[in-house]
Symmetry: C2
Subunit: 359 residues, 2 copies
């Protein structure tokens, strides 16, 4: 990074450093994906999802598509959290319209099929993608990498697929607590190596997705989720003191300040169910700086458009008050989202004008 | 209710009235169901789930099965929350192993197929079941009725099935806010009529299941969930001043005291993700009486058995401190639950002995 860039950081990086910017910078989770016709066209010309994710030229193109169309303030690597089990030698595939399928780890014996360390050479195309995207990004646009948090990735590895309430993973953890801890430990180490390589390739910040925090009994939240994430964050900071990390712990039930304190994150993503007003007022009496927050429009308000979208955007913009804020959805953008609704969203966030006229 | 019973209320009713009892009374959500071999045998001899639910003799038998086997402190009517849409003329069926299927309300025009008021005559067999069970209950065992909360029932009526995050219902609410409110209003009225008839038939308390509170954006929690439940509770209290009502609002993210204050519930059920210590300590500084709570062992700890069960039960028993407490799971019992684990659970809760020896 040049010193000129350090002097004038990109808006999202400035927010991650604790600065409030008006209007807030914006990107959308899953912005490189199926709601874009140009993505669907390119996807139809490639065999499998993983072939696309592991093709630097095509993955870079897909990553850049939403930047060209909407001028978002961040590009997020086109990939999936399950490339980590793939690089640990667990068989992973993506069934169109159904989601991921893995050869499930039904019992501790299944571990023998896995590598104990992640094979970063298998993920080399991803790091090349990051470099390619970085070179083509507009000046204000930040390059984001990501990975899944250990519990969320483990829940797919154990169940072999997405599951309601992550029941198979919880049952595995109850039945085989030491093997479960071993899996979490392996994923901590794999995530450290994987994110370090993403930073080395040019990522300017990373998001750790704990998409399934909501299924963890609170008695286990520290052990299964917060401490593993903290170990990843601490290890990255040990290598790269100024790394910027966003933690999105959907359904954790904790205030963002507690998530930030427990994990060491620079910023906390909040899901659509959370009231941003309550989310930060909880701990606001303290004299500490406000935790930067990211979120949290309901993706279905963006699908619906109309008044629901206008009111939803207004609520998000006002709800975060004076907190350093990155505008985002409260979950990934849905494939059925009309393009024109995204255009209107970006215009509303950037101008604020429509809020008074039509909101 | 005789005056003798009023003088020596059943343990669960005493807790609902604010009394702390040690050891706490116990029942399990979905206790009349598939984890019991005697249920599976009876179920295999009846055509459909609704035929069973609408057969007073068989439904009473199924309701009583777990009482005979485990001596629980409450019998909960064997039925389903979707008998309400069934009695509003929406086609409902249950696909074995897949769950409920309804003719979905894709748009406001779909309302024309529905009755505006619930047809209580269609539910007459349910009221007869309550009377039959009541006559056979052991003295300390309370008769519980139930219904789904309007949002949870509406989400099934709109989607036609269970859905992750209740996306179709949220989208409907955004696109058609007044039609959505109309549906909620109809369900409020239907629930008042249905629960009133359950009390008239002999129910001593009812539980209102807001199983999908967790998918509601907080900005809409009042309008979609808390206020509709409050209207049901207020109307029932208007007719029957001493009715006892438990509200189970899974994933609401609110402290139980707030749920109780917002809905008027006597007691609040909490799900397995909540830490009971935090749940009630939140508002404990106030001088108000402690809200009775129900919950919240992870149903998967009961499936797992062994140390996970011992520790889980210990955590629940100690976690509720001095709060009036009804022991329950944090969600319905799972079909794969071993009978012997339930026997051990009941023994642990009732004696406390094993807690010190094996917990």
């Amino acid at each position: 990074m040049s010193s000129a860039k350090l002097n004038a950081p990109k808006p999202i990086l400035a927010v991650l450093d604790g600065m409030r910017i008006d209007p807030p910078p914006i990107w959308l989770m899953r912005q490189a994906g199926r709601f874009l016709p140009e993505y669907r066209k390119l996807r139809s010309e490639v065999g499998t999802f993983l072939e696309l994710a592991y093709s630097p030229k095509l993955a870079a193109e897909v990553t850049l598509q939403p930047i060209r169309r909407f001028g978002f303030d961040a590009a997020i690597l086109f990939s999936d959290i399950l490339v980590v089990p793939d690089a640990m030698n667990q068989k992973v595939s993506f069934v169109e319209g159904e989601g991921p399928r893995l050869d499930p780890l039904r019992d501790p014996e299944g571990f023998s099929r896995l590598r104990s360390e992640i094979d970063l050479s298998r993920l080399a195309p991803i790091f090349e993608t990051i470099g390619r995207v970085k070179r083509e990004l507009p000046g204000r646009c930040a390059m984001l990498g990501f990975c899944g948090a250990p519990w969320t990735v483990a829940s797919y590895m154990i169940a072999g697929r997405g599951t309601p309430d992550q029941a198979p993973a919880r049952l595995f953890a109850y039945r085989h607590p030491s093997a479960f801890q071993e899996l979490i430990d392996r994923l901590v180490e794999a995530s450290i190596a994987y994110l370090s390589a993403q930073f080395a390739a040019g990522a300017e910040a990373v998001q750790i997705f704990e998409s399934f925090a909501g299924a963890i009994p609170k008695a286990f939240l520290e052990d299964w989720s917060l401490t593993p994430i903290r170990r990843i964050v601490d290890a990255l900071r040990g290598k790269l003191p100024n790394v910027r990390i966003i933690v999105f712990a959907k359904g954790s039930g904790l205030s963002p300040d507690r998530v930030a304190a427990a994990t060491g994150a620079n910023a906390v993503g909040i899901d659509w169910t959370v009231d941003p007003t309550e989310a930060f007022f909880n701990d606001r009496s303290s004299s500490k700086p406000l935790t930067p927050l990211q979120g949290n429009l309901d993706p279905l308000a963006l699908v619906a458009g109309g008044e629901a979208l206008g009111r939803g955007v207004k609520r998000v913009l006002s709800g975060f008050g004076s907190v350093p804020h990155i505008f985002n959805l409260g979950h990934g953008i849905l494939p059925e989202t009309p393009i024109e609704n995204v255009e209107r969203l970006v215009a509303m966030v950037r101008s604020g004008d429509e809020l008074d006229n039509k909101g």
